[in-house]
Structure formats: structure tokens, C-alpha cells
Symmetry: C2
Subunit: 461 residues, 2 copies
């Protein structure tokens, strides 16, 4: 009877101290050998906790088994018995252990503490470690929680294109795509766009927002959840070239409405993950960020504060703090200001209605007082996490803004047409999914929450 | 009390013929005017069916309302009343109608039959039509069903990278990515890879399989669901350059096991979609593919046949049919053969164990008789839908095959290492999600089941 470790843990009373023989298949994480006994720390990837497999010299291939290396795959037949060892309820008393795939001793993942930098270089093996079993299961569970939230609330999932000929915000940071041979371009000394697959210059999208808006004007509530790209040359623990974004767009929704949705989403994802990746979060709480569970429970069960940018500057100016950067109306907030504000309220804070000259995105709704209808969510401990805004729905104002910023209006014809054909008050936001996973795992480098991170000079696998 | 159309339909008894005033926000799909009355066919994107809004000249802005164009966004306050009209249970008797966003008469989507080709040119507006409301909601619901299936069965969702320096199968059809200016390369007459973001030649992945396998060797059961790319120059109703693929990989799983998973997935997705996009599927059954519902119900409630390639050739040879292509052992199956086989069994059919010389992928498990442990799923009415295989887990055999095919072994070091470090019997498959959506909607062109299709020469939006 082939079983998974998950099933044994979840229904242990059906197996323990019965005479049922079960079969497990998985890998050896550690192997302690004694003269007449052996103990294998065994995992199969289905459950965070491993199983202790105990065997003795009554087993026919005892001498062979004692040679099985860490990292090998094995199948084990045996009975689940109450464990005499401390800290574990049960163990598997083996009657048969078969080697499925050997693992030589040069295997890079040994039962000792490896640095995260070392494991990053072994990205294809690191998911076999406890730490990355935890991180990547949390990532998976959280991703499902995102879909679950939106689908249950009637949002339509839209797969917007990655190839794009429109620019969104980050023109300078766009990766270009080509089907021409670069060497050939160099040899010929000219670029022939007619030879390109698309017949023109095409890049990889930096945001799904604009295409998302077209669907919001049809389905009212939509979300995207897919990869986006930025050729950002920064070497920081927060930047990667390829990352996943969640970008909802909602018609008939103002700034308050989108803050509600954003807050509800955060809380749902955190609660769902706490429930469905319990062992993993407990491990991360113990070994990565002490207090992680408390932090997540607090954030997911209290209202987020909402305060205007102007009120924030007032608070900062009144504060008895020696600032490195003096807070000023009309200036951006520094990290120290963000930190002070979240500590002041002891809560996540939406900072709303920023001056247009600080938040320059042309698509944010312009208010009469020189601010825009936007909000940044500041989380205790990390500061600005992501932004949202009501989108400008007035065709004339939007066109004027595009002209002011010296952008090419022709390129935005279809986007502008959304304001011409049945325009609505509408809003949206964009969360970098990796940032959310970092927050929920306590990991401090974005390279460690995505399977194969892409950074300047790094594109292995 | 602001409501969505979905809520009214689902809880109509709470609203109908009560004195509750509700407010709806949405768009005018059609507008019939009479001297003392008006009828607006109103939708808000939350529900497939629209609401008939009725107003009369007792309303203060009656004359203005009568000028509201198709495509305009409006908000309506009124009461839900039993409808005297045939074919609808209720209508909304309006006491207030406010224009939110006008829509000039050059609006391309008018209440008449538009061709799909015309709508493809208006890709940013087509989701407002009945047909594309149906198609894109089915797509969204089916996507969720995919996640739901895998998560409930303990699979880990893995976001494999799109930037890749490894080749998988389709080298010739890979899009290349660059951060160099092509014009500058042409001017300088040489390619300087040190100026590239990644410092080397990088392309967009054609499959997540290899990276997926690394996670299957850690989590046992994983799936990917994300975009992949192929610079395929074919102009056919089945080819696009950017499409979404579902690629599960499972350790300790043989060909039979992966066929089970694949069959269960198909059935779950179909059943879930039939239940959760009922109105949409009914519409598609009436207007796109007669018999769609019967087809889907039959497929999702019967076992798929499993038959070897050799048995298929035997059946084809015995058939009393004048073939265009004579069926031969060792040759690929033609469309006419696939059709015959699915009709012969009147069922989806897995055709298993193909000759290695027909299925050349180097990673398929080699059997002793010259076949590989693979299967193609053939669906009635469309033929080959997707393939799956047990992966070669024997390091020596895999290396030998790579050499035979003249591939560069160095490039596959980490992939080969998966067979060195605790190799397992493992299997996987890849479904093109758009093909699945085509099957479930009856749409016959892949360009019409993805929001913004990318094909040779086409990259708008």
C-alpha cells in the first residue's frame, strides 16, 4: 500500500501500532548507522516534517542499506509504530528498504548548515533542503490563496500579453525581443525590422495594468497574476529582472474601494497561508524570523490605517526626531519617515493623496488640489510595499497630462479610447508577489523566494 | 444600495417585487426607445446575462436618457419587478438613470453581429461582447479549476523562469532577449555580450519541463502554469507565439500514473467549468458548437481508453478505409488515423509506447523494444491534444541519447545531475492551456481564446 508522508501525518491514528504494512518512497536526508541498527531521516516532499525510518540487522540487505548515501532515493516498506524517541510521535519500522537511485558522496546538499549564498549556487537542488521546502511551499500556498480570493469575489483572471509594443512606465528598463541573429545584424551593419517575427520593435512588458484596464471595462473586476520584467541593473536584495505581479483592475471603484480590496486580499492570503502551511510557517518563525507568526496574525486581524500624505508630513514635522532628511510638503518620504509612520500607528498604513509632482505616473487620477488619488501601503518593518491608485477617467485631463510629460499620444490611442467609450471611475493596484512572499517567510533576499532568480549577469538553468 | 447583476440573479427572490431600491452600475448594450418608454439592455460584467432596464417619461431626465448611446456607462436606481416580457423573469424599473461615461456613435461594438475577424482587430473592446464575455470567463474559471485540482491533490505550484540559457527542444524557434540597442550593434559592427544584462545569449523558454523536474525531485508532485514562447512562423488557427502551458512533473510516477493524473485533471477542469460557468457554456452550446455540453459531459464522465501505438496500427491496417496515408509500423499517425481511432473507441484515447524514431525527444524513457514510455492524448473531434511521458531516469542511457542526437552534453549538466543525485522513476506532461479552452468553448481559432494574441506580424497592445 503506497502512501505519502502527508497522509501518515494527517491520519496517524489509522496507522500507528496497527499491523498495516505501508510503502513510502522518497529521499534520505540523513543517515545514522549503528552496529545493529540504522536510522534514516526520510522525506518525500509531500509534507514538511520528515519520518524517522528505523531498521535493524534482521533485514536481509542490512549491510547494503548501511552504505546508502544521503541524497539517495529509496522505497521503504514497514509499519508505523509509536516512537520511543523524544519530539516525534511515530517512526517507521522497516521490513524492506530498496535503493531506487544512488547518490554519490560529492552531493552538494549534506546534512549540515549551508549558507544561503551557497544554496543559491545550487538552485536546482536547494528545494530539497528544509529551508527551501518551507519557502517554496509557502509561495505555492500563497499563490493559490491569491486566486482563491479573487475567484470567490467574482474577479475574472486575465492573461495579459508579455510581448508588448506599448511602453507603460519603464521604457528604459525594458528587455527587447528579437528573432534576428545579433551577429548577422553586426555583419550587415543594418537592422531589418521586416525580418523580425513581429515586423517591429517589441519588448517584454513591465506591467499588465493597461491591458488589464481593457478587461475591467468589460468584466468590472479582473486580476492578472503573471510574470513581468524589468532590466533594472540594481544589485540589491529587492531587485530581480523577472518577477511575478498581481494586478487587479476594478471598474466603478474609487480609491477607498481599491484600498478595501487590497486590504482584504492581504488578510486573506496571510490567513490562508497560516492555515495551510502551518508547519512551514512555524519552521520559518523558529529559524528565519522570530515572531513571524505574531506579526502575520496581527496584520491579518486588524484594520489598516488610512492617512493622507499631508497628515503624515504634519506628524513627521511634529515628531521629536533628528531626521537625516527633513520632512517637507511636496517631497517624497524617506525610509526613516516610512518607518516612523508605521511605528506611530503600530499598524499597516495606507498613505493617500500624494502630490502629483511626487507621484508622476500619468494615469493617476488628478484631484483639484494638486494631489493624485493614490495610496502607498506601508508595512511595519519594511516600509512601502506596493501602490494603488484611482485611474484618470477624464479623457481631456489624461490627454493633457500625456502631453505635459512629453509622451507620444499616438502610442496610447487604445488606452485613451477606454475613456472615450463608456468611461468609468476605476482603480487598480500592483503587488510584486515575491515581496509578499518575503514578508510572509521572513526571507530577506528576493533571490531566495523565487526558484531561479534572474539578476544582472545571472541566468543559469 | 449598490448591487452587482450577479447578486440579483442569484438571489432574485430577495429583490423581486419588494420595495427595495437598488443601484446598478454598468454599460448599455442596446437601447430601444419609444415615445413614453425606453428599454436598456444593461450589463455590468459580473454575470453573463444582462438586465432589462425599463424607464418611462415620469423620470425627470427622460429626454436626456433617450439620447444615451450604446456603449455608455450608466448608473441606475430602481426596483426589481416581475417582467411581463417573455424569456426573462425580472426587469429593473428605473427611478433614476445617470450617465457616467458617454460613448460616441463611432463606437465599434454595435448591437449587431460582428465577425470574429473584425472583433480580433478590436481586441481591447471585444471582451464587452456576449461571445467574448463567455469565452474569457470560461478561460478564467478553467484556469482556477487547474489550480484547484493540483492544490487539492498536494501539488506544489512552481514559477519556473521564462528567461533561460538552456535550450529544451525548440532552439530554432526561440525568441532571443537583448538589452543592447540593435541599431547600435549594426553601427558598431560587433556584438558585445559583456554589455548584455545577463552577459550572454539568453532566450525565452519554450517549456518549463526541465526546471519543473528539479522541483519534482524535491516536492514529489509539482506543476507549473505560466506563459511559454515559440517563434513559430506558422499562420494557422492553432499557432501563437505566446501561450500558457500547464506542466506537471511527478517523482515516483510511471506512465500509467501520469495518465491517471492527466485524465483526472481533464475531468476535473471540465466538470468545474460546467458547474461554474453554466450560462456561458449554454451560450456557447447554442451559438458556437451545437452539442458542446453533451460532448463535455460525456468526456468528463467516462474512462479514457488506453491503447498502444502498435495496437493502433493493427486496428488501422484492418480497417476497411481507403487511406490517404497508409498506416505503417514505425511511421507517425496522420490526422485521418487519429480521427479513426477516436471514432473507433468513441472516447478519448491515450496512445502509448511509440517508436523512439517517431518520438525523438531525448528525455523520454527508453524501453527495451525500441519504443519510449510516452502517450499522446487523442480527443474525439480534434485528435492529438497533448503528450506525456515517463522521463529517462537512467543517467547512462540519457547521456548516450544526448550524444546520439548530437546535442551538447555540457549544457545539460544540471539536468543530468538529477539522475546522478537520487534519481527516481518520474513522469510529466504539458498541456497548452489555449487548446484546452478551445475544446471547452468550441472556438476554432486560438487567437480568439487568448486576450491579445501574438502571431507573425501582430503585436498590438
Amino acid at each position: 500500500m503506497v502512501k505519502e508522508v502527508k497522509e501518515i501525518y494527517e491520519k496517524v491514528e489509522e496507522f500507528i501500532d496497527t499491523d498495516k504494512e505501508i510503502k513510502l518512497q522518497g529521499w534520505i536526508r540523513n543517515h545514522r548507522k549503528q552496529k545493529e541498527f540504522g536510522f534514516i531521516d526520510f522525506f518525500d516532499g509531500t509534507y514538511f516534517k520528515s519520518v524517522q525510518v528505523v531498521y535493524d540487522n534482521k533485514i536481509s540487505n542490512f549491510d547494503d542499506i548501511q552504505k546508502y548515501h544521503v541524497g539517495s532515493s529509496i522505497s521503504v516498506v514497514g509499519k508505523v509504530i509509536k516512537s520511543p524517541a523524544k519530539g516525534q510521535l511515530f517512526e517507521l519500522s522497516a521490513s524492506e528498504i530498496v535503493l531506487e537511485g544512488d547518490c554519490p558522496e560529492d552531493y552538494p546538499i549534506q546534512p549540515k548548515r549551508h549558507t544561503r549564498e551557497f544554496l543559491r549556487e545550487q538552485a536546482y537542488l536547494r528545494p530539497r533542503t528544509n529551508l527551501f521546502q518551507a519557502v517554496f511551499r509557502v509561495r505555492s500556498v500563497a499563490a493559490f490563496a491569491v486566486h482563491d480570493f479573487f475567484q470567490k469575489n467574482g474577479f475574472v483572471y486575465v492573461n495579459t500579453p508579455l510581448f508588448t509594443s506599448s511602453d507603460c512606465e519603464g521604457a528604459g528598463e525594458m528587455f527587447q525581443v528579437t528573432t534576428q541573429d545579433l551577429e548577422e545584424i553586426a555583419k550587415k551593419g543594418k537592422v531589418d525590422y521586416s525580418k523580425e517575427y513581429f515586423g517591429k520593435k517589441v519588448g517584454l512588458t513591465v506591467s499588465a495594468q493597461f491591458e488589464g484596464e481593457t478587461f475591467a471595462q468589460a468584466f468590472r473586476k479582473i486580476y492578472t497574476f503573471g510574470p513581468t520584467f524589468r532590466a533594472d541593473p540594481s544589485h540589491t536584495p529587492l531587485h530581480i529582472a523577472e518577477f511575478w505581479q498581481i494586478e487587479p483592475e476594478v471598474a466603478f471603484c474609487d480609491l477607498n474601494g481599491i484600498m478595501d480590496i487590497s486590504e482584504d486580499l492581504m488578510k486573506h492570503v496571510i490567513k490562508y497561508t497560516l492555515e495551510n502551511a502551518k508547519n512551514e510557517i512555524e519552521f520559518l518563525d523558529s529559524f528565519v524570523e522570530k515572531g513571524l507568526i505574531d506579526k502575520l496574525k496581527t496584520v491579518s486581524s486588524n484594520s489598516f490605517k488610512r492617512v493622507t500624505y499631508k497628515e503624515c508630513i504634519d506628524i513627521l514635522k511634529k515628531a521629536d526626531v533628528k531626521w537625516q532628511f527633513t520632512p517637507e510638503y511636496g517631497e517624497d518620504l524617506a525610509k526613516e519617515h516610512e518607518r516612523y509612520i508605521t511605528e506611530y500607528f503600530n499598524s499597516p498604513v495606507f498613505i493617500t493623496y500624494w502630490p502629483q509632482k511626487v507621484k508622476k505616473c500619468f494615469y493617476m487620477k488628478q484631484m483639484d488640489d494638486g494631489t493624485v488619488a493614490n495610496a502607498d501601503l506601508e508595512l511595519p518593518g519594511i516600509g512601502e510595499t506596493y501602490g494603488m491608485s484611482q485611474r484618470e477617467d477624464d479623457l481631456e485631463k489624461l490627454e493633457k497630462r500625456i502631453e505635459e510629460l512629453g509622451m507620444n499620444k499616438e502610442e496610447y490611442t487604445w488606452y485613451l479610447n477606454l475613456r472615450k467609450y463608456g468611461s468609468t471611475e476605476h482603480s487598480g493596484f500592483g503587488i510584486g508577489f515575491e515581496r509578499l512572499v518575503m514578508y510572509m517567510t521572513g526571507m530577506d533576499n528576493i533571490r531566495d523566494v523565487i526558484p531561479f532568480p534572474r539578476t544582472p549577469g545571472n541566468c543559469e538553468y
